[in-house]
């Protein structure tokens, strides 16, 4: 049997994960709206499970302007562990500076907007990833720690994710919630790359979660 063709998660497990991510993204939006006075417009979350090496191709197919993206990565460590990747369009940093009202912090010195834009992107990535993973682990009764966020892709010509980030046995959970702001036109999405062991833990945790509602 072709192992790769086996379902990594059942339809019911995907449904449960989708609802948990809906709740997690709601928390993320609320956390972000507390920091900046905006309304985050959420879309219905979409969950898809891939083998990790399929992820770059998936991102290329999903994102129209693949040559102009930034990817923020943050590792999370708990019983459920892996890398969270948040994809933004490249111009998002500058737009976020305006939304945060940080323009006055820009100096006329060398390349300040670039630096501030990167920092703002990382902060937004940190808030969104933290709220998503935090809520997911809380609901599944796990506890996680995080590495600091970092930018792994920034205006690389048509790159997606370096191969070194993706082990062949790993799974990628695509959690695609497009979030946009009532002001500005930024939207982005989140991917989680996780190991086979973590997926096994996740399946068990999802089963226990829904048992509480039987």
């Amino acid at each position: 049997m072709d192992v790769k063709k086996e379902k990594i998660l059942t339809d019911e497990e995907v449904d449960i994960l989708q609802e948990i991510m809906n709740i997690a993204f709601g928390q993320a939006a609320s956390d972000l709206a507390d920091v900046i006075d905006i309304h985050v417009i959420l879309s219905v979350p979409f969950v898809k499970i891939l083998q990790a090496p399929e992820l770059p191709g998936y991102i290329r197919d999903e994102i129209r302007d693949i040559c102009n993206i930034s990817i923020i990565e943050q590792k999370f460590l708990g019983k459920f562990r892996g890398n969270a990747l948040m994809v933004f369009p490249s111009h998002a940093g500058k737009e976020l500076i305006a939304l945060f009202g940080l323009e006055e912090n820009m100096h006329p010195d060398a390349d300040p907007a670039e630096t501030l834009g990167r920092e703002t992107l990382m902060e937004v990535g940190n808030i969104m990833i933290g709220a998503c993973i935090g809520k997911l682990s809380e609901l599944l009764r796990d506890s996680v720690t995080y590495s600091p966020p970092r930018i792994i892709i920034e205006n690389h010509p048509c790159d997606t994710i370096p191969d070194s980030q993706l082990a062949a046995d790993d799974s990628a959970i695509v959690l695609k919630t497009v979030f946009s702001f009532d002001r500005g036109s930024i939207s982005g999405f989140v991917f989680l790359v996780t190991s086979h062991e973590s997926i096994q833990w996740l399946k068990e945790a999802l089963r226990k979660f829904i048992e509480r509602y039987e």
Partner: protein
């Protein structure tokens, strides 16, 4: 005391979320349940069944909860709609209350919260009747 709530409409695109909400509603009161998977279906079901209480999600495909609330309130300005949402931003809550929602409950629900919401809904229905 006269029982006021007989029919309950649960609107959520996630079958799991509908199941979770249903599990928080007392089973011994003989409620009739109706379900809808998006806002448009909710409006149709509302028209057909005239539920006493409607639990409404906000983020849904086809027609979202905001639009569905507007439509339902247009059909029946006294409709008792309880929003059940993960979108807990202040602006989202303010908006649905302005549209005519009765109250907002934050996902994940607890049994006591849902029972309390149903009691409040019954109070409102009594005042309307």
């Amino acid at each position: 005391m006269q029982k006021m709530i007989r029919k309950i409409l649960i609107v959520d695109d996630s079958p799991i979320a509908r199941k979770m909400l249903k599990s928080c509603i007392p089973r011994d009161r003989g409620y009739e349940f109706y379900e809808a998977g998006d806002g448009r279906e909710a409006v149709e079901k509302f028209r057909e069944t005239r539920p006493d209480v409607t639990f409404m999600d906000l983020t849904m495909p086809v027609m979202n909860g905001y639009e569905a609330i507007e439509e339902i309130i247009r059909i029946d300005p006294k409709a008792v709609i309880i929003v059940v949402t993960a979108d807990i931003q202040v602006k989202a809550v303010t908006k649905v209350m302005k549209l005519g929602a009765h109250m907002v409950l934050k996902k994940i629900l607890r049994k006591e919260e849902v029972e309390d919401a149903l009691l409040k809904a019954e109070d409102t229905l009594r005042k309307f009747s």
